[in-house]
Amino acid sequence: MSVSVPEPLRYADRPEWNDVAPVEQYENVNPLAPIFYTNEYKDATDYFRGIIKTGEKSQRVLQLTEHIIRLNPAHYTAWQYRYETLLAIEANLEDELRLMDELAITYLKTYQVWHHRRLLMLQIRKPAPELVFIARTFQVDPKNYHTWSYRQWLLAYFNDANLWIGELDFVEELLNDDIRNNSAWHHRFFTVWQSGVREGEEDRERVLRRELIYVKQSISLAPNNASAWNYLRGILDHNSIPYQKMITFVQPYTLLLDEQVADLVDLENPPPSKSAHLPCASAIEFLADIYEAEGGNSMLKATELWKSLGNEHDISRKKYWEYRIREGLRAIQT
């Protein structure tokens, strides 16, 4: 090791630990995929096994488990025993949460860090500051799955009207930073459509109109964004609205850019922006779905669009578009 950090004092050399008998890990003579432990990890886990044997739950157990967690944040037994110890000695859980603020950011992608945080929150039951903390971690990684999942759990579990107040603004801020952040789009769907109806949102027609304007506006700024198209489809499906209703909006995106219309301000049907890269494959696919649903003669228009996707605008999915054409033609024949 070239790093000049001194190895911490071994537990065996610390007088305050000499009442604990370390217990070595039992390992067969020919272990499978053994890990060449550092002396520090081996020493700490020997003492941890020693502690488990006596069942001690004390302040020093918190130090020991923190030490192990910093060496191996996926050590789920260290987390499990730490949590039990916190409860047993009635430790200050707010202090624990502050320590977790640091560990969550260091080990953002470890399951256990977030699981432990959930367990703490079930005891502390103060979710509001957590939303602020999460917003902070998004500065490091705005698409972290564990963090988003924790936020969704907090909101759904505590489901307090005050908690939800800033949620839509929060999503919009993230989408302003990155219009292609699918986690933010997903969270928008969850907030608006999947978590009940909150005060001020009772008029669902108005909410639907607002969301349609929002997503269409977003598409007009950046048409080639699958997240926005998926959101559009999602809200139409959720509200049982036929895709046909979007035909006027979608059509200009399936053609080459028309410089004339680009300056129009039309909230219902915002035209593509001047920098848009057109035609847009997602729009062609959407229009084909409209024609397919119409059936009859429109099916032929759909097959033409699928052909253009497979041959020109979305070549890497050629096999899929050929399949859609076959299915479409079969539907006409029957």
Binding site: T77, Y145, H186
Partner: protein
């Protein structure tokens, strides 16, 4: 598009070497795998099995002693029986080791799944398996909402564990200790508007958990699938749209391609009967670009390889053998035996597992 580039060789020997080296030992930088070593063993031995190099690369003595090591992780106790991830919480004394486990050394559902598959790869006869005890463990780990925890009484619960529990029940051919209705409603609660599935209720659609939802519903012993034709189509569309121009799949909309999602999303499509809609040649070309110079396959080009991405890449190729042409220098290096996409093992290994693990009623 598919014919205008040459497929480079798949470095089979180098990948087998990588898997073999990891089985012999992992550096201290991999300490986070301490509580998941059984899964590492599965990925490494599974890679050798898919490459059909297990006999060449591993001596009979090693294979036997590794079987013995896995059986030492088989443990019994008040919540039922199963396998531990490793002896990371096992104490040294012989006497203590053979008695019932404590609350801090219980079997783990995901590790039980990987241990069963690994033993099948090693062609174990499973005569030591406490089958009734494993059924009890499944019961002890299922929560009221239908999900499963990784360990009895604690640990995270999400779709991953549910899948592992379902494979175990499938291999035992006994679903009597699982509440299927609750499990199904948990799966349904994970469905997202995009057509994929999230890790738990309200979560964003993700390739890994979508595979798990598809495989679990297909494994369950019910005659009709709980998905409507329209829902299936939506899932297929979402999955296909995650194949990017590089040929690789991303795990979520607008993310980057990653070798592991080639398996998770490719597997979902295979299970949904839409495997032939995948462009397998560009998929193989993406995986070729993830090969590490000295063996092993990484999540993306230029990254470091690991057993997880190596195994899942080879499993992907077993499901989606690319068409090879005369110009391809080593076309034969891309040929694999078929994979059982539901339990994730080479077909022959999967058949062995079913034959020897099933409870004879």
């Amino acid at each position: 598009m598919t014919k205008d580039f040459n497929l480079p060789p798949l470095a089979r020997l180098a990948h087998a070497g990588h898997a073999r080296r990891c089985l012999s030992g992992l550096p201290d930088s991999q300490i986070e795998l301490d509580s998941g070593r059984m899964a590492v063993a599965f990925y490494c031995l599974g890679a050798l099995d898919l490459l059909k190099m297990l006999q060449d690369k591993v001596s009979m003595t090693d294979r036997e002693s590794w079987q013995e090591w896995i059986w030492e992780q088989h443990t019994r106790g008040k919540y039922g029986s199963g396998f531990r991830p490793s002896p990371f919480m096992t104490v040294s004394s012989e006497v203590e080791r053979t008695t019932s486990y404590t609350d801090y050394d219980t079997p783990h559902i995901i590790m039980t799944y990987t241990a069963l598959l690994t033993l099948a790869i090693l062609r174990d006869d499973f005569s030591q398996l406490d089958k009734q005890g494993i059924l009890l463990l499944l019961k002890a780990c299922q929560r009221e909402d239908g999900s499963f925890s990784t360990i009895p009484g604690g640990g995270e619960t999400d779709l991953r564990t549910l899948y592992c529990a379902f494979v175990i029940a499938h291999l035992l051919d006994d679903w009597s200790t699982i509440n299927l209705q609750n499990a199904f409603s948990f799966i349904a609660s994970c469905r997202s508007y995009e057509g994929g599935y999230g890790q738990s209720a309200h979560c964003e659609a993700n390739g890994g958990t979508t595979y798990i939802a598809m495989a679990a519903m297909e494994l369950a012993p019910v005659s009709t699938t709980p998905l409507t034709a329209l829902e299936k189509r939506k899932t297929i569309e979402w999955a296909l749209h995650n194949q990017l121009e590089s040929g690789g799949f991303c795990g979520r909309t607008n993310k980057l391609a990653d070798a592991c999602y080639c398996f998770w999303i490719g597997g979902s499509l295979k299970i949904l009967g839409a495997g032939d809609l995948v462009d397998s040649r560009s998929l193989a070309s993406f995986l070729a670009s993830c090969q590490f110079r000295f063996g092993g396959i990484a999540k993306a080009p230029g990254e470091h390889p690991d057993p997880y991405h190596t195994y899942l890449s080879l499993a992907t190729l077993s499901m989606f053998p690319p068409p090879v042409y005369e110009n391809d220098a080593s076309g034969s290096s891309w040929i694999f035996d078929p994979l059982d996409p539901l339990i994730n093992a080479r077909q022959e290994t999967a058949d062995w597992a079913r034959k020897y693990i099933a409870i004879k009623h």
